[in-house]
Every structure is written in C-alpha cells, then in structure tokens.
Symmetry: C2
Subunit: 311 residues, 2 copies
Amino acid sequence: MSGAPAIAALDWGTTRLRAWLLDASGKVLAERRSDDGLITAREKGFAKVLEGHLAAMGAPQALPVIICGMAGSRQGWLEAPYVGVPAPIGAILRGAARIESERRDVRIVPGLAQRLADAPDVMRGEETQLAGAGLPANGRHLVCMPGTHSKWVVVEDGAVAGFGTWPTGELFSVLSAHSILKQSLGEHPAPVAADNPFFRQWCEQALGEGGDVISKLFAIRAAGLLQDLKSEDAAACLSGLLIGGEIASATRRYGFSETPVVLIASGALANLYGAVLDLAGLPFRTVDADEAVRAGLIEAACENGMIGGAA
Amino acid sequence: MSGAPAIAALDWGTTRLRAWLLDASGKVLAERRSDDGLITAREKGFAKVLEGHLAAMGAPQALPVIICGMAGSRQGWLEAPYVGVPAPIGAILRGAARIESERRDVRIVPGLAQRLADAPDVMRGEETQLAGAGLPANGRHLVCMPGTHSKWVVVEDGAVAGFGTWPTGELFSVLSAHSILKQSLGEHPAPVAADNPFFRQWCEQALGEGGDVISKLFAIRAAGLLQDLKSEDAAACLSGLLIGGEIASATRRYGFSETPVVLIASGALANLYGAVLDLAGLPFRTVDADEAVRAGLIEAACENGMIGGAA
C-alpha cells in the first residue's frame, strides 16, 4: 500500500529532467521524464517548468520539492554553492540552497568542488547518487558513476575524500560525429554490445596502457583501411578503448580498494562497464543509478528537515 | 644562378596543395599554395587542377611531375599502393605509381602501411618528408612530425622500422569546437605561445602521466569554474596537455634514442614541440618541414629516374 505523497524529487540536468512523486518510504507514486533541462528551463522559467511537471503528476499544492543537478549551478535556477572536499556526505546534503517562494519549500542540493591546484574538479548531481548508493559508514570505497562525464569517487568512512572526471561519453559522441573516425563509424553508430569481441579486444589492450588512449585512436581508422574493420565493429573498438582507458586511468590514480568497486549505473552502460571491470579483474557491485538518485534525494530531504526520517 | 626547371614537385593533401618548380639542384624557381586539396580536386579533376597550377608557375610543356600525399590514396587521383614496413626509405620512393598520360611523366609516391594486428597504422606524405630530412644512413633515429595527425617514426639504418599516429592537432580542433571545453576556450581560441606559463605547466603535468591525457581534460573546465582560468590560457592548457601527452606516450612506446630526436616541423608548431621536447629533457634537432618535403620529392624523382642524380 502506498502512502500519501511526501516529497517531489527532481534530478535536473543540463538537457534532461526526471521528476518523481514519492511517499515517505521512498516509494514511487508518479514519474516524469522530459527534455526540460537547464537549457530549456532558462527560457521557459524554472518555476513554471517545475509547476507544470508537478501538476501533471497530481502533486498537492504545498508539497515540498528537493532537486539535485545542474539546476543548482550558476547558470541554473539558484546557485547552490559548491561544498569543498573532503566532506562528509551528510554535510553535503545539509547544504541545500532554498528557493525563495511562498508557494512551497523548494531546495537544491549543492555540488562538490575539489580545489586542488593540479586536479581541480566539480560535480553536480552525482553527489546525490553517491548519498543514495547505500555505502557502508566505514572503510574506503571506490565508486564509479559512468556517463557523459564519468565520475570516480573515493569515499572514506562516509566522507568524499576526492574525485575525478573522465569525459568518456562525451568523447565517444564528439569523436564519432566530428573526427576522422566518423568515416570509420559511419553516420549512425550502432549501440555497442558488451559481448562484441572487438569491444573486448580493444578494451583489453587499453587496460594495459595505463590510460593512454590517444595513441590508439587513429588505429581504428587504420584498421578500417588495412583490416576491413566494419563500421559497427569500429564503434565497439572506440567504446572498448575509451572505457578500458577510463578504468585503467582511474585505478592508476586511486589504486584498488579492499572492497568491491561500487558501479552506479543503469541499462546498457551498466552492462558495458560491468564487462570492462570483469576484464580488468576488479570485483564490483552494481547499484541502479535511478534508484540511487531517488534514495539520495530522500536522504537530502530528511537531512534538511523537509520530511520525517521515515526513509 | 638558377638552372632550368627540372621537375615540378607537389605535396597534395586532403585539403591543401603545395607545388614547386625546382631546378636539378632543388632550388625553388616558383611556388604555389592553394586549397585545391583532394576534396576540391575530386570535383574539378586532378589533371585539370595540376595543369592549372603548372601553367600559373610557367612550367614547360613536358616537365615531369612528382607528387606525394593523399592524392595517392584510394580516394585520390591514382592509388599508389601502400608499402609495408619495415622498408628501406629508398625502396619506398622507388615504388611511385605512374599516371597514364601522354602529356608528361607524372608519378605519385606511395604511402606506408604498418600491418600489425595490435597497432595498424598508415601514412601518406610524411614518408617523403622523412626521405628528405637528411637522416644518417646508419643508427637508430626517432623522428617526430607534428600536425593534425602527428607521426612518430623509428628509422633504423636507413629503413622505416615502425611508426605511430597521435591525432593531436585534430583533437585540439574537435575538442575546442565541439566539447564542453568550448565554453572554456571561447569561440576563437587564440594562438598558443610556447612561453605561455599555462602551456608549460600543463605540459609538464602531462609529461608525468605517460600519455594519460583524458583524465585531465575536464580539469580545464573545472579550472575555469574554480580558478578563474581565462579563455586564452585555457587554450594554452589544452595545447600543453595534448602535446605533452603525445611526447610522453610516444617516448613510452619507442623509448629514447642515443641520437637527438629529429623534429620535422615549421613555424609555430616547431616552436611548441621544441619547447615540449626541452621540458621533457629530450635533445632534438629541427628540420624545416617544407624543405624536407621538397628534398624528399627530388629524392623520389631521382630514385624513379625522372631527373639525373644531381640533387
């Protein structure tokens, strides 16, 4: 049996928005997915876009709203200033910024900043997935959140110790659309399957190169000229090379943990990264990315006193 | 005193064409630079484009023509089949393909193919620069030819032993125009100076990472958000990161030679790569790329009996 709506939770990114109506236990009562990301919302107005989606889900008038993602950036609705790392995950969530509104209580979870001179980095949204991943309160944990800009995070005793970004998804898109590899991959690269032998072969090669991916990129083009590599297999080569390179690079930087890598991902990405972690001989456990962000948003609502601690 | 024209020499690439009228000693009597690369010439017709440039330089009716570059590719005028490495440089030049023409003797120098299962690679045009770089007949030499697709070549006792491609120039263009770094670099990235402190700093960081460049790309964006990095300096960061990464990766693959690295380059690229080789502590000597390709084309004309051995 579902309870009454306790909170509306939004993952509000640059190009997409996902919204859920949740009861106090975190159960999903309604869901919306749309292209009303930051770019669109800047034109339409953030409050108007939000109220539209809340109305479509039948949200009560005064229901509180918790948001994570790029809506909290300087170009977003309201800047939720970065929390510097190292930082305990609970403290990050408690830093939510509050939108001035008579209508309802709306808050945005802050992103994280790593202010190191030689490794500056930022994230917005992934800190909430991290909070919802059910990490143990103690020990050192290495977390991988693949995507357009994959994040790897080291969590020590419930605090974010450090993190890094590998723009793997973006590189795949940009190189397939705008580099010489376009000729190899064709106009519309097919989705890559984790059991494609080219994916596995190029991935294994990349795993042995410590993150040096660039020296292998042109080989995909050359393999098309010299080895009759087909376009669907060329996409698998590029994907294997980039993901293998990411994992080689991230484990070179952060070393290994005694506990399994925590892979926060869904669907096809979860399969591809799982296959590569297997090839690398790294134990891992997968946490569904959608479930993690919802759990993190509820956690944030609790930490900010927007709902009771029932979750 | 200049002699009579002995040969017309062309470096005919994908987007550009450079043509010279040379006497038998290699002295330049006339020069043309144009955008009539392979792409344009496929539409206009290769013979017509060639004759137009020869006429503009006042070339005699039956003057022989030697060509290198993408004009010899499958998409070019006539495919000059790849020569497989390892191969002596003289033997490569002697493999020039002959255009069937009553008008004059026109030949195209073949490119090189490295048919290794795990490192397939190709080049067209750089083999001619290499031939004209004045390498000693003996010993092991590491050659760097920077550009859109930088080539590194190992030459042993006058033969090409192996080579690799680093798409450094292409990555700089594609990432500045189409990735998130566009926001950091701005619409029209300024030319990067070799003494820019950001260029040097990011280069030194990259030199220590063995070719792992991708883990540092997003840091340029983050430095803009957290460290007020300016757009002209962001371009210097990206350039330093990519070139430093290339040199770290290439020397990791090929090791060091007892002889100085041979840098075949001109102008701004020669300055940037020279600065990075200095930072890496690698002795080098620079050969002007234009002079090298002309000398290589004359060498090819000699090897194919198109002119006497006077050069």
